[in-house]
């Protein structure tokens, strides 16, 4: 149709057409939304940084939570019988008797009495090595492992030991566990609050960065609007563009956080043996995020990209309404 119009117009006017023919056509259609802009790059950087921080916080919270739970269940599966020395008391016989009582109790998976030498080694940090245990009233310790999944009657075991073995006491670590659990719960709660704040800050900063990036696109929105593009079409173009920008930024930040967590294990192996590292390992165990952690990081990437995409849609609609 255009060809017909042009040929008719050509018939009216003699001036030759001043143009080159046979020019190659563009092979790829450009994106409707300008692909590279300063605002877009800044948005990607903001998304990457905020995703990195949010992922680190998430990883930290999950790490503390998982290790605290594991560590508590380890300690909860163990009780200690202590037999204090006394005048005329045969400690070896008392240890044997207490071990037999514990072994015969339902829900007990194993009983391990500590020998005199092992008991002495437990005191080495305070009294030094080469200790003559026989000269000291060192109590004897029996470690009782409880079967997992069972709830043995600790009170009955305690009563039986007190009744039948002189000087025997049973420690189920309950008071210590309760205090440590309270600390762990407090740390996890604090972490969740920090995570909530980081996610809120992420959403706000991504929101503002997206609006900043969108401000430069107002002329594009206006032109599309004036030549008859539907609002949904315009919003869709920007949503896709900003979703992709958000995913790219989020993937960079999330990958950096995952890499950092992955690097902790080899670094931990290098510094192992150092007193501080050992204490740290004893408290927090293995510093790996696990599949749950990776899933949460991925979820954050998608969430942050969705925030950028949704903000761009709202901004398009607001821009169209203001035209």
């Amino acid at each position: 149709m255009i060809k017909k119009l042009i040929s008719r117009a050509r018939g009216v006017i003699e001036t030759p057409v001043a143009s080159a023919t046979g020019a190659p056509l563009p092979k790829v259609e450009s994106s409707i939304v300008p692909p590279q802009s300063i605002g877009g790059r800044a948005l990607m950087a903001v998304v990457a940084i905020m995703t990195f921080l949010a992922s680190l916080t998430t990883g930290g919270v999950m790490l503390v939570r998982a290790n605290a739970a594991e560590w508590q269940s380890e300690v909860l599966r163990e009780v200690t019988i202590q037999i204090r020395p006394g005048t005329g008391r045969d400690l070896d016989a008392a240890v044997r008797q207490a071990s037999d009582i514990a072994r015969g109790f339902p829900g007990v998976a194993g009983v391990r009495p500590y020998s005199r030498q092992e008991s002495a080694r437990l005191l080495e940090p305070w009294l030094g090595s080469g200790l003559a245990v026989d000269d000291l009233p060192v109590p004897r310790v029996i470690v009782v492992k409880l079967a997992s999944g069972e709830r043995p009657d600790i009170a009955a075991l305690r009563a039986a030991l007190t009744e039948k073995v002189q000087g025997a006491t049973l420690d189920d670590h309950r008071g210590w566990i309760d205090r440590m659990r309270a600390i762990a719960d407090f740390v996890v709660l604090g972490g969740i609050i920090v995570l909530g704040l980081v996610i809120a800050a992420t959403i706000l900063s991504v929101n503002f960065a997206t609006r900043g990036a969108m401000a430069a696109n107002r002329p594009v929105i206006e032109v599309l609007h004036f030549i008859g593009a539907r609002d949904r079409y315009i919003a869709g173009q920007f949503q896709r563009h900003f979703l992709w920008l958000g995913l790219k930024g989020g993937a960079i930040g999330g990958a950096a956080a995952i890499l950092l967590f992955a690097l902790i294990t080899p670094i931990e192996a290098i510094i192992r043996g150092n007193a501080g590292a050992d204490q740290f390992a004893a408290l927090f165990g293995s510093l790996t995020m696990g599949w749950g952690g990776y899933a949460v990081v991925l979820l954050q990437i998608v969430l942050i990209a969705a925030v950028a995409s949704e903000t761009s849609r709202r901004t398009v609609n607001q821009t169209i309404a203001s035209i």
Partner: protein
């Protein structure tokens, strides 16, 4: 096709810049819109392509009352209107070819279905060798021709042009006007806003003259 009844327009709380406009633009008609600078030509064009809403009066476009249009209805009407902006409004990140083919693209047409038409038109307006170029490297005249090509490519029912020949030499200006005339003969109503009296004198066409916010018709 277009009907204005007692239309008035004011910006904010200021005086009315357009007053009591009552006129029709018939199908297949050709008219110049003229008047001194600041008379309100661009404001009237904005009312015609629904970029502004009147502060009073009734505007009917393609038998639709424009005050009742929703977003989709507005977009559907705009697809029937071609507009040449005074400041061109080309998208700087797109090539000339892509800018001109934008109306087809937003309609969802396949690139292969309109390629020939776009190339033919670009060659006709003298931009055959500038298809790859981005607007920032085009001259003012080239930008104007690209803007005109974008406005006419989908053969709209109504073509509105704001000073479409202001940046081109007289011979090219005449050629572009012949394109508008041919488009008009094919069924498009054309409104050209200009204050180039020499250009208007070359064509026997209706004149809409704006003065002091009022419209005077010379058929």
């Amino acid at each position: 096709m277009v009907r204005f009844e007692n239309v008035g327009l004011r910006y904010g709380m200021g005086q009315e810049v357009l007053r009591d406009l009552t006129f029709r633009i018939e199908p297949k008609s050709f008219q110049f819109l003229t008047g001194p600078s600041g008379a309100g030509k661009t404001s009237l064009l904005k009312l015609l392509f629904l970029s502004l809403r009147p502060t009073r009066g009734l505007i009917t476009l393609f038998n639709r009352d424009t005050s009742t249009l929703n977003g989709d209805g507005l977009a559907a009407l705009r697809q029937r209107i071609g507009i040449v902006f005074q400041d061109f409004r080309l998208l700087d990140h797109m090539t000339t070819y892509e800018n001109v083919s934008l109306p087809f693209r937003i309609m969802g047409r396949e690139e292969s279905s309109y390629r020939t038409e776009v190339v033919e038109l670009l060659q006709w307006v003298g931009l055959g060798d500038r298809m790859w170029a981005l607007p920032p490297v085009l001259s003012g005249g080239e930008k104007q021709r690209a803007a005109i090509a974008r406005a006419v490519i989908a053969q709209p029912n109504l073509l509105l042009a704001d000073e479409p020949t202001g940046n081109v030499d007289p011979s090219l200006g005449k050629r572009l006007l012949y394109l508008f005339l041919e488009l008009n003969k094919a069924g498009t109503s054309v409104v050209i806003a200009t204050h180039d009296i020499a250009l208007m004198d070359q064509f026997d066409a209706r004149r809409l003259v704006l003065h002091d916010g009022r419209l005077h018709l010379y058929d």
